[in-house]
């Protein structure tokens, strides 16, 4: 079996948190994209959806903006503004070609899932 193919590995248990603020329009697309990547990578989708609705909740969840995706507690990307900025806002992601986007790319999600799988097996 080729160890690089997803099905060759035991389906890892990943704790996936999807944090979002309803006022930012991209969260539905981002969630659908996440589920597509999880399916393609052979990961059983078990995603905790967390709606962050107040500034207090944003501080408690250390929410840098919507959407924020954490795998086993690790954010899939570094916020462009740097760490420590929390609040009810839409989050900026940087694409591979340097543009700003309101949601993570499929490739960025895939890299994050694969990195989490590697961490789980080391």
């Amino acid at each position: 079996m080729d160890a690089s193919t997803p099905n060759a590995l035991m389906t890892p248990t990943m704790r996936i948190e999807f944090l979002y603020w309803r006022e930012c329009p991209s969260h539905e697309t981002a969630l659908a994209r996440l589920y597509d990547v999880l399916r393609d990578e052979g990961v059983t989708p078990s995603v905790e959806l967390v709606h962050v609705g107040t500034e207090q909740e944003a501080a408690r969840w250390q929410f840098p903006g919507s959407p924020t995706i954490r795998i086993d507690g690790n954010d899939i990307a570094e916020p462009p503004e740097g760490p420590g900025q929390f609040g009810l806002t839409c989050r900026a992601y940087r694409t591979d070609d340097g543009r700003i986007s309101p949601l993570p790319s499929t490739e960025a999600l895939r890299r994050a899932v694969r990195a989490a799988r590697e961490r789980a097996h080391t």
Binding site: E81, T89, C90, A92, R99, I100, S101, P102
Partner: protein
């Protein structure tokens, strides 16, 4: 909050720009098409569409099209949207249009703007002819299928009706005081 309806007349204003001068729509009275666009620095939707707005302004400048960009966000909530940061961004991106600060948020409220970016496009008689998003794909300019703003401009310059007169504005909420 309801935005002003299509066929409404432009609501005038006088706002300070990043050049520290006051700007009014009347200062651009000769422009056959005038765009009043609510935006801001920090919003990823505004940032994603920014290059396209710059390009549309540049490629249509010779045809007399004029955009006025307005930021109405409460900078105490979003420091990245302060006037000084607006000046920095306008300089860094070499904005080809005035970038105005709506400190009291009265202009945004008068227009019924709620999102950034949100386009209000007026014809030569200053009647609202297009309202909404710049196009149908905030994420990828190469995947745009309906360039609403470009098409509306082309139509108005030909004295035609925009093929699409209104779309739902997509972006961050305006940060109210």
């Amino acid at each position: 909050m309801e935005s002003i309806a299509l066929d409404s007349r432009l609501i005038s204003f006088s706002l300070k720009g990043t050049d520290s001068k006051l700007h009014r729509p009347e200062d651009y009275g000769k422009a056959p098409v005038l765009g009043v666009i609510f935006t801001c620095n920090h919003c990823p939707y505004a940032q994603a569409w920014e290059a396209r707005l710059i390009d549309i302004q540049r490629t249509n400048a010779e045809r007399g099209v004029q955009f006025l960009l307005i930021s109405s966000n409460d900078a105490s909530k979003v420091p990245a949207d302060s006037f000084e940061q607006m000046q920095a961004r306008a300089a860094a991106k070499e904005y080809p249009f005035p970038y105005l600060i709506d400190e009291t948020q009265e202009v945004a409220k008068a227009y019924g703007a709620t999102r950034t970016p949100e386009v209000f496009l007026f014809d030569r008689d200053r009647v609202l002819r297009y309202h909404g998003a710049p196009d149908d794909n905030y994420e990828d300019p190469r995947a745009v299928q309906h360039a609403y703003l470009r098409q509306a401009i082309d139509a108005l310059l030909a004295d035609d009706a925009p093929p699409v007169a209104a779309t739902r504005p997509v972006g961050c909420t305006i940060k109210w005081k």
